[in-house]
Amino acid sequence: MKLGGYQGKILRVNLSTGETKIEPINEEWARLFIGGRGYGTRIMYEEVDPKVDPLSEENKVIIATGPLGGTLAPSSGRVMVITKGALNGAIACSNAGGHFGPALKHAGYDMIIFEGKAKAPVYLWINNGNVEIRDAKHIWGKSVDETDKILRGETHSEAETMAIGPAGEKLSLIANVMFNAHRASGRTGVGAVVGSKNLKGIAVRGNIPIMVADPDKFMEAVYKTRDKLAKDPIASGGLPLYGTDVLVNIINEYGGFPTRNAQDAYMPDANKIGGETLRERNLIRNEGCADCPIACGRVTEIKEGKYKGEHGGGPEYESVWALGAMCGISDLDAVIMANYLCDRYGLDTISAGSTVACAMELYEKGYMPESDSPIKLEFGSGDALVEAIKLMGEQNTPLGKLLAQGSYRLAEHYGHPELSMSSKKQEFPAYDPRAFKGIGLNYATSNRGACHVRGYTIAAEALSKTADRLAYEGKGMLTKIFQDLTAALDSTGTCLFTTFGLGADDLASLYSAAVGVECDGNEFMKLGERIWNLEKLWNLKVGFTRKDDTLPPRILKEPVKTGASKGEIEELDKMLDDYYKVRGWDKNSIPTDEKLKELGIYDLK
C-alpha cells in the first residue's frame, strides 16, 4: 500500500464459520472512493445483492474508518457503519464520533467486514492485530453502558468499544450501534443488522503507528485548519458553549422547529429545552471526540426531581427536538432521561422520539384504541415519554414491539401512514421543510432516507444566511453541493461540524497531504459526487424511484399555523426536477450514462 493515512488492511470476519482473514486495501478503490462511507459502499456494491433481506445472513456490516482518522486533522475520530439498512433497505452509512475509529487503525485495520451469522452471541476482541471471536452469551441482554464496562473489564482497561443494546438484539428497526457507550451511529437501523448477526460488540486497542504521506505539508494544513476553526463563531463559539442544542432557539425563531408531530413548527416555550438552559441546569463539562478542537459533546447530570443523580452523555439538538418538541414536552429532565434510556437500550433518539410523537397523535385522535396502550400517550407528558421509551426498549408488550419498528410501521398498522413524519420510512430530523425549503429537498433525496447530515443546507439557509430559506430557486444546486461535500468528508473520517469553518479546499489540503494524492477542492467535490452516485445506483437496484423521493403529506399540504413561517408549505416538486437536472439525472432520478462515464463508474451501472 503506497497511500498514506491508511493502514492498508481490511479484516474480514465470517461469523458463520468463525474464520477471520486479512485483505489488502484496494488502491484503485481508495483513490476513487476514499475510505469509510465511500469505500464501504463500494464493497457492499461488489459483495451484497441490493435485494437481500437486510436482516438475513446474506447482508454484511462494515465498520470503517477513513484515511484522516486518528491523525491530528481536526475532528478526525469518526467511525462508520455501512450496511443495507434495516429500516428501509437503502444503502446505510451511519457514523459516530468517540475514539473507536482511531483505535481500530492503531490495531492495524482500516475496516472490518462482518459476514454471515454467529450461532450464538459473540463479541470481537482485536488487540494489536490479533483477533479473537469470544462468547457473549453472558452479555446478551445487557444495556450498552453495562456492555461497554464488561468488554473493557474482560479485555483491556483502555480498549475502545462498540456495542448494541437490547434494542439491536431484539431487531428493533430503529436500533443504533453505540461507540464508547454514548456516541451513536444512530440512523437507519444499523443496530438491528448487527443484532441479526448475533454480534454484541467489539473491543479494540493497539499501538501501531499511523503515518501520513507528506508530514510537513500535512502539519501545515493541520495548523491552518485548526486556526480557522478557532476563529469560527460557531465551531469555537456556540457549539462548545451550548452544544448542538444551541440550535433550539435559533431554529424555533425561524418557525422551523416541528412540534407535536409537526402539527406546527413553532414551540412557544422552546427555551426550556434549549442549549442555554441545558448549560445552566445540567452541564458538567464538554467532551471532545478524538482530535476535536470543537468539543460540542455534553456531559450532563439531572440534578433534581425524580431522575435526580442520573448522568451520561448528551443530549444533542436532534434528540432534544425529537424527544421534546415533537412530543410537545418542555420538561428538560424528562427529555434528558429519555435520551439516556435510548443510549442504554441502543435506540436512535431521532426515530424513537418521532415514533413516540406519532403514537401520541394516533392516541389523541382515537386512531389507536386506548386499550392498546398501557400508558396515556398524551402530548406534553414527560412521564408518557419515558414509559414509552421503556416499552420500546424492552419490547415485552405488543405496543412496545410495534413502537420498536418505527413510526412508519406504527402509523401504517393503525391505518394512517400519513402520520409518520418520515421519508423512505425514516423519520426526518429537527428542521421543518416548510420553513427551510432546501432541507426538505435534501430529506426527500437523501440516499439513506430522511436525514440532515447527508446535505446540511441549514448551514446556508439558517446559520450563515447565504441562501434565502423560503426560496425554491437554486435549492437543487445548494443541496447537491452539501450532499457531495459531506459524502467526501465522511469518507475521509472527519466530522461534518468542521465545515462550519472549513471549505472543500481546506479538507482537500488535509486529504491530499495525508494520502499523498493530488487533490484540490474541485477534485474533492468530484470524489463526493462519485460516492453519492454509487449510493444512488445501489438504491435503484433496491427499487427506489422518483416516487420515493417525497415527504409526508402534512409537510406538503398543511400550512404552518404559528411563528415566523406561518402559512408556509413545502412545494417539493418545484425543486425536484431542478435537482435531478443539476445532478445529471433524468426525470425519473436515474443517472445518465454521460454522468456515470464522467464519474468513472459507468461500468458499475
Partner: protein
C-alpha cells in the same frame, strides 16, 4: 499546568506529541497521557512535572537524567542511558516510559520550550505558566468568593 476540569478528552495532545517526537501518530509513544474515566466521563491529563527532587534522576546510575537548575527541566541524555528502566520504576507519575518500537527511554522535554501539546489543546487544559502566577490566580479567585461571603455576612449583621 494540567487542569482535568477543562480537559475534553480529545487526546490531540497525545497525537501531536508522538508526531513531534517520532514523526507518526501513535499515542503509545506520546510523552503526555490522557486517562479517560468513562463511567464519570472525566478526563485527566498527565505528563512529567519536572520535579524539584526527581526520583528518576536519583536512581539513574549513569547520570542520563539530571535536574537542570537553570531551566528547571529534568533533562534526559540518551547517549548516557543504558536502558536499565530504574527511572520508569521510580517515577511516581508514570511519566517516564519506553517507546514500543525502539525500546528507548522517553520523557517530556518541553519541546525545547515551545510545547506542541499546548498549541493544539482546544480547551486550555494544558498551559505553561509560572508557579507564582498560578498561586496568585488561585488567591484572587478564593478572595473573590470570600468577598461575596463577607458582603452577605455584613448585611446580616447590619440590616
Amino acid at each position: 499546568m494540567l487542569n482535568p476540569l477543562k480537559c475534553t478528552g480529545c487526546r490531540a495532545c497525545e497525537d501531536v506529541c508522538s508526531f513531534a517526537h517520532e514523526g507518526v501518530f501513535n499515542p503509545i509513544d506520546a510523552r503526555i497521557k490522557v486517562t479517560t474515566f468513562l463511567e464519570e466521563l472525566t478526563f485527566v491529563p498527565s505528563v512529567c512535572l519536572q520535579c524539584e527532587e526527581p526520583y528518576c534522576a536519583e536512581v539513574c546510575p549513569t547520570g542520563a537524567l539530571v535536574k537542570d537548575t537553570e531551566t528547571g527541566l529534568v533533562k534526559f541524555d540518551a547517549n548516557k542511558c543504558i536502558g536499565c528502566k530504574q527511572c520508569v520504576v521510580a517515577c511516581p507519575w508514570g511519566s517516564i516510559k519506553m517507546t514500543h518500537s525502539t525500546r528507548e527511554i522517553i520523557k517530556c522535554d518541553n519541546c525545547g520550550g515551545d510545547p506542541a501539546c499546548i498549541k493544539v489543546c482546544p480547551s486550555k487544559a494544558i498551559t505553561y505558566e509560572e508557579v507564582e502566577d498560578v498561586v496568585l490566580a488561585k488567591q484572587h479567585s478564593t478572595a473573590a468568593q470570600y468577598k461575596e461571603i463577607a458582603k452577605s455576612m455584613a448585611k446580616g449583621v447590619n440590616p
